[in-house]
């Protein structure tokens, strides 16, 4: 549980947005295990944007430069095949996607589309890199979480498509 970052008598000086954001990020599987202080630093680097239903966050083949975290709404991850496109996963609040952009410079491997009115947090790759360079703890925890997600994806039997669900643990990396 996250304690109040400032003493109670300084509650008037507290930024409610920031107080809300850090605990929210800690509930995301990608950021599990990060200490409160580091999570608070990381949370200041996010942009927040409102999306409308049907809006495409990114398309398969787009250059990947950022990680997204769903704050509100539902995001559908789809991939195109010669037989047509299929849904890889459906993500809800707390789920992160586009995390491969933090690791490599390859184009996006799937398309992300907002299904219901939503808000997303956006973390740019260079901001993430700067934090990792400045703090080995962030690097270790994040890489462990990313590896865990990749391992889950690699162990899935071939041909199994994940059904809709709030957890991104079943989603393939993007």
């Amino acid at each position: 549980m996250f304690e109040q970052p400032l003493p109670r008598w300084l509650a008037w000086a507290t930024d409610p947005e920031q107080v809300r954001r850090a605990p929210f990020l800690s509930s995301s599987p990608l950021f599990t295990g990060l200490p409160r202080r580091l999570l608070a630093r990381l949370s200041t680097r996010f942009f927040e944007k409102v999306y409308h239903p049907g809006e495409v966050v990114f398309e398969e083949g787009d250059p990947g430069r950022a990680l997204f975290v769903v704050v509100e709404g539902v995001v559908e991850i789809t991939r195109a095949t010669p037989q047509g496109s299929y849904v890889l996963n459906t993500l809800g609040p707390g789920d992160a996607f586009g995390e491969l952009a933090l690791i490599d410079d390859f184009p996006r491997s799937a398309t992300a589309r907002v299904v219901t009115p939503g808000r997303l947090l956006i973390l740019y790759k260079s901001d993430f890199d700067a934090l990792m360079e400045g703090n080995a703890r962030i690097a270790v925890v994040m890489m462990r979480n990313l590896s865990r997600r990749l391992a889950i994806y690699a162990r899935r039997p071939p041909g199994v498509m994940s059904g809709p669900g709030p957890s991104s643990e079943t989603a393939g990396p993007l």
């Binding site: 930024d15 850090a22 083949g61 250059p63 430069r65 184009p107 790759k125």
Partner: protein, 351 residues
């Protein structure tokens, strides 16, 4: 719709033209905001409201300035007063020296006589006629300075407090397909400019302190004043270090008892500072924030000088870096999209 948009843009351009006098205060305020932004980011991580954090930061800065002016102020004021008192005599001395040099040159090379200027009170006219002639001019100069002192912290306060909201608003208005590249461009540029400005100020402080200490050790008069000038001039690439060395050299030439050995000491001191700056100080302060080819760097400074004078020379390097980074990111974006289109665009899923 299109006409309305054009009209709105025309209004913005007209407003910008009318407010062009605010360019310098806004530029200085932005530089101050970049300088202080790490402290605000630190406060953000502690979940302190921006207005409280920026207010507290400004209170601390005012306190530090008061303490520093108590410590260094009397020495600086005394040196400035002594220099102003000696200025007419110094100007006369320089004129005598220049006239003698011109006469000597004319005697050595009579062919040049027609090209050489007549002897005169060049420096005295230049230095002594610089002061504001009319009381109205004096008020104008003081008014400009006062406006800068008031406007720069005022704008910097609001930039630090509200810039993130403006950026968030702009991001919210962007079409989703441009968000990722826009965030990338903004973050890269923000990082480059911030690192460059903070590095430049830190570099100027170190160079100024080294120059002041070195000049004091070499018993050159006005070490504090010349050190402060060296630190300030250091923000102008190429020209700044030359100017500060020339100023110190001139003071040595005009100081009885210093002689050529004194000039040699000053030249050596500024040479050592320059080498230290290029090899040790700058890699630590400005570091990797600027990736410009030396020719491009020099070219940008020349263009900046032509466009905006000294201010142009100062902002030339970050402006060229920003331009280079923006072009790189946009070209990269285009290249990836072109590669995707070549492979065959995947089916668009969104309506």
């Amino acid at each position: 719709m299109k006409a309305g948009r054009l009209l709105a843009w025309g209004g913005v351009v007209a407003l910008a033209w009318l407010a062009r006098g605010l360019l310098l205060p806004v530029f200085l305020a932005a530089a101050l905001a970049y300088l202080l932004s790490p402290a605000v980011a630190w406060a953000d991580a502690l979940a302190i409201r921006r207005s409280v954090a920026v207010g507290a930061l400004f209170a601390v800065i005012i306190g530090v300035l008061v303490v520093v002016s108590f410590l260094l102020g009397p020495g600086m004021v005394a040196e400035t007063a002594a220099l102003v008192d000696r200025l007419p005599a110094l100007a006369r001395q320089i004129d005598v020296g220049l006239n003698a040099a011109v006469r000597e040159l004319a005697e050595t090379a009579p062919a040049l006589r027609r090209l050489l200027p007549e002897g005169g009170d060049w420096v005295q006219r230049f230095v002594l006629n610089r002061g504001p002639g009319e009381p109205a001019d004096l008020f104008e100069h003081v008014g400009h300075l006062f406006l800068l002192v008031i406007l720069v912290p005022f704008f910097a306060f609001f930039l630090l407090r509200d810039m993130h909201r403006l950026i968030a608003l702009a991001m919210d208005r962007l079409p989703p397909q441009h968000v990722e590249t826009s965030v990338a461009v903004w973050r890269e540029l923000n990082g480059v400019i911030g690192r460059y400005i903070r590095g430049l100020v830190l570099d100027g402080l170190v160079v100024g302190a080294l120059a002041a200490l070195g000049l004091w050790a070499a018993r050159v008069p006005y070490p504090l004043l010349l050190g402060a000038f060296a630190g300030l001039a250091n923000v102008v690439p190429f020209v700044g270090p030359l100017l500060s060395a020339a100023a110190a050299g001139l003071v040595v030439v005009l100081t009885p008892g210093q002689g050529l050995a004194g000039v040699g000491r000053v030249v050596m001191l500024f040479l050592v500072i320059k080498v230290l700056d290029d090899t040790i100080i700058q890699p630590f302060t400005i570091g990797r924030s600027v990736h410009l080819h030396p020719a491009l760097l020099l070219g940008s400074v020349v263009v900046g000088n032509h466009a905006l004078g000294v201010l142009g020379m100062i902002i030339a390097v970050p402006a060229a870096t920003v331009l280079q980074e923006t072009v790189r990111l946009l070209l990269e974006h285009r290249r990836v999209l072109a590669r995707r289109d070549l492979r065959g665009r995947p089916g668009r899923l969104a309506a």
